[in-house]
Symmetry: C2
């Protein structure tokens, strides 16, 4: 939405929406809200990076990305191992905005989305883990959505921290010395981990509220029309009908076995640098 | 998640997840759930297309895309005017999977995401409107999220239909002969329009329930861990604090003026083919 771009620093993107165009009467504005009435504290200069990797789950990233790109003054990057398109688990093809090499050294937020087999591959990828360990050692917030916490865990970034993951993989967190904790968004010091997929939206909006203030975040929520009305009540293992929970839990048995083996090996390899 | 790919026809993507690998003991499976116990009605063959265009809002598309790619047997396309990367309003770069020319002629679902200035440009783009009019004339479901309904409207596809849009642009729908209607997801015959941005998730899950059944959709909801917990209660103009609603409404005044002018011109131009 236009107004989201206002919030996200429309003024800066003069190319897309010039405040005035050639031939305009003096003072003409094109969709640029008068931002002079906004409190100075509403503008920041955060550097935010999402890691993306083959077969990640796009919604894990795009939910919080919407929220973070609503932070006026912030810069948000999509970081991958190289410049090749990164294909999500559902077949969406993304072009990364930068690679590990040119990602800013000091990040305000590093965020790792989840996935399934691609997540296991990322947990085993040395360049990916080294990147996360490096940026994670200095980032103001080290965060994940869904099974992204397994990658943070493999990188040794959740050792001794309370954390969550997708409901089905949360029991794996002790492999990495993390403490599995109930909650849609779990925060322990500067580690913030979200539950499965859609939890990223709640995580992102919560962090917007912290980085700006409540009124700002409420504006972003209204812009996103985030007044969810799920058509069914099956979003957690406890709330879903028991046969649905059983069906979906059964589907994870084999994946979790693989994830446990991969996780133990990666954590053993990377925990000491 | 792996299990989502199960649901989405993991069996077919043998390359990514071979049912057995060289060197495995006979009968070994890697993450492939036994799908023989699933009802045959859980597999379809829908052809689904999302229109993408410069400066669209990614979350409008990625929310329902998650849901639709959970439909076993369905094929989901990202269709653009040409093969160039399409940059979203928040800077995400997507590679389309096909162009207007090679998009299947008969679609089960055509879905148009919203945006702001890019949406106005799409409303004025002849190739885009012709594509929508053509596919929309035969599609089983003609759908939109957020201000995507303005594009459907410009293409003459909402004339005489009840519809919604982002809360701020819903009052513009009569320009296109549509009847603005309250509701997070509004359905009138085969037209389904969602409200702003995050409404696309509810829209997508609802349609999954219709195309399969309730239990299937509940499984998808559980996989997405879709049990939202918005940190604030500001997702609609009525629920947000009045000063927040005023601030955000003010931001739309200028955009709505532009949208009205563009909409009237496009509708007059395209309504009669």
């Amino acid at each position: 939405m236009l107004t989201r771009r206002d919030l996200a620093g429309l003024v800066a993107s003069a190319l897309a929406v010039p405040a005035a165009r050639a031939g305009d009467a003096p003072g003409t504005q094109h969709g640029v809200h008068d931002m002079s009435s906004m409190p100075a504290s509403w503008t920041g200069k955060e550097q935010i990076a999402f890691l993306i990797y083959p077969e990640f789950t796009a919604l894990d990233m795009v939910g919080p990305h919407y929220m973070f790109t609503s932070l006026m003054g912030a810069t948000t990057h999509l970081v991958a191992k190289d410049r090749n398109p990164v294909i999500s688990d559902a077949g969406l093809s993304f072009n990364p905005s930068m690679t590990f090499e040119n990602c800013p050294a000091d990040l305000d937020i590093i965020c790792v989305p989840g996935g399934s087999l691609g997540t296991l591959a990322a947990m085993q990828d040395e360049a990916t883990i080294r990147f996360l360990r490096d940026r994670g050692s200095r980032a103001r917030f080290v965060t994940s959505v869904c099974t992204g916490s397994l990658i943070l865990g493999a990188a040794g970034l959740l050792t001794g921290y309370r954390a969550t993951s997708h409901w089905a993989t949360r029991p794996l967190l002790p492999i990495f010395g993390a403490i599995p904790t109930e909650g849609r968004v779990v925060r322990d010091r500067n580690r913030i981990t979200g539950g499965g997929v859609t939890a990223g939206i709640d995580f992102g909006l919560q962090l917007v509220g912290q980085l700006r203030d409540r009124e700002y975040a409420e504006g972003v929520q209204l812009l996103a029309e985030y007044a969810p009305e799920p058509p069914y009540d099956a979003g957690t293992p406890k709330r879903a009908p028991s046969e649905v929970t059983k069906m979906m839990s059964d589907m994870f048995v084999d994946f979790n076995k693989q994830a446990e083996a991969v996780g133990r090996a990666a954590y053993a390899k990377y925990r000491d640098g």
